[in-house]
Symmetry: C2
Amino acid sequence: MNPKDNVSIGLSAAIVSVEGERPSVLVVSHEGADDALPFGPFNPVQHRTLESGLRKWVGEQTRFDLGYTEQLYTFGDKGRHLSSSGDGSARVVSVGYLALTRQGKEAPETQWRGWYHYFPWEDWRDTRPAMIDSAILPALKKFVKDAPNAESAELRRERVNVCFGEGWDEERVLERYELLYEAGLVEEFYRDAGKPVKQALGTAMQFDHRRILATAIARLRGKLKYRPVVFELMAPTFTLLELQRAVEALAGLRLHKQNFRRLVADQGLVEGTGKWAATSRGRPAELFRFRREVLRERQAPGVRLGVRRIKNA
Amino acid sequence: MNPKDNVSIGLSAAIVSVEGERPSVLVVSHEGADDALPFGPFNPVQHRTLESGLRKWVGEQTRFDLGYTEQLYTFGDKGRHLSSSGDGSARVVSVGYLALTRQGKEAPETQWRGWYHYFPWEDWRDTRPAMIDSAILPALKKFVKDAPNAESAELRRERVNVCFGEGWDEERVLERYELLYEAGLVEEFYRDAGKPVKQALGTAMQFDHRRILATAIARLRGKLKYRPVVFELMAPTFTLLELQRAVEALAGLRLHKQNFRRLVADQGLVEGTGKWAATSRGRPAELFRFRREVLRERQAPGVRLGVRRIKNA
DNA sequence: ACATTAATACTCATTTCGAGTATATATGTG
DNA sequence: CACATATATACTCGAAATGAGTATTAATGT
């Protein structure tokens, strides 16, 4: 192939953990600049696979030993990988990864940050976020009206409806972010276009990292339901309520407690340890552990969160 | 970034269609060489996005106008992108795509080929393929026995069990292909290692294209169940049996006719046209069309094929 | 003692699913 | 034309899964 076809490949990782009710992502933050995901170039000479390249880079940058990892998507859009400083020179194709861990000893330049800082409209645990009605929908209405022609307006109307209309589908995280981007509701839109920022919902990230994070959340929310991935984020033993809170934090939804318990129990996802959690108030809860055997036994075990939100939080 | 980090990006597409009961993939075949998927390099100067690059390349090579497309995975393993001629020079990272179309006018160097030529063990419509018991399981048993140590043997045993043991999970196409690759049951294994071929199940493809195709089939089989993607492969109108045969062809499984009908009808995926198919024998079937509106209405409509195989074909 | 809090158990109606049986409408054959 | 055969379509029925509770148990704080 021709040398002019050469491109640099950037590897980025959305490293996710949950502490209590807060789903977080590990970010590299330098003062003044936006947060970034840990990332680095793929070196075809050193690295045998993309994933081994990622592990090496991330290890160096964050001192983290990635556990579960999964490739998300490869982004190559022109103009979507600019840093805040605006160097538009190199064309970079970026491969995003999702990694799940528990919090540990991080490198000093990195920190865990709640992911709803970047996506405040995605957290429906307490209530439908007010900003959807106060800021998002009015702006999107305008976006529909400003469409260049009727056909485009109809397409936009449909997208708005799917993303923010009747019936919240918690998995459409990326679709929603991309819609907000195109509608100019997000800082990155202005940065990529080299224009002054007009609207900026949520906290911005460097490059296309918020898009990668959106992809990560979407994938994780989907995967939760058919693979027992939550357990990668849990301590070795946990109470059922802790497990539920973790799932809720990730899904951004509240679940029905009794049914949640029935689900994980009936599916054989967990087993009691016979020990009890130190409790403050209320009846003490039994500590459970993940039954690794289910990975072999069942076809598609997962916390099939009865997707519907609990009537009222 | 350093120039030595530069890599070529190859774009490949698994273009899928179904004609009758035969799911096919569009391949480029030159005599003497293995089949290949349509592919070409990504040109960062010309192409704004990876997908537009793909569309351009594929358009030139196959005269096909891709409809539905979806990015699958980005492969970068060293030594898995060798051609049959064995040029090991350039390091290529390949981005695989899935595209769904109907058959039309193809370029002369391309042809539709049934995908079960490449994966004969994946077609369970008539019966559990005999080669699983006659060839695959014995060889995999040996693969387990030849493990370097007990721990590795246990891991291998589990993988064999998940892939080919009790309970067929039709989505694990890639997992199965990778297992067969590692166990040396597939031509590509020997080619990539530069060794003489010992065992070769199914028809080989160039580069890592069979792996990309496996990824495509797996993704499509999964997606079928929660998104109405089959309809991309159907004529504008079709009988319910034709629709069922298409789904069965893709899934490699037989389905229960009456329940299939109930499913697609109850979900509002199709609507009758009031016209009837020209019939040879039996009562004539009504022609249906896809109700595009469901894309807006329901959360996750798809042909939730009651995964279990029909008792006996 | 008792209000409060949380864990866990049990109930119940509804929906979905798997697997049929039953009936309707063609063709082809003697 | 009667009837075997093939296919489409309708309807049934029990089992399992799901959504939304109520009931009971076991702690703490006052």
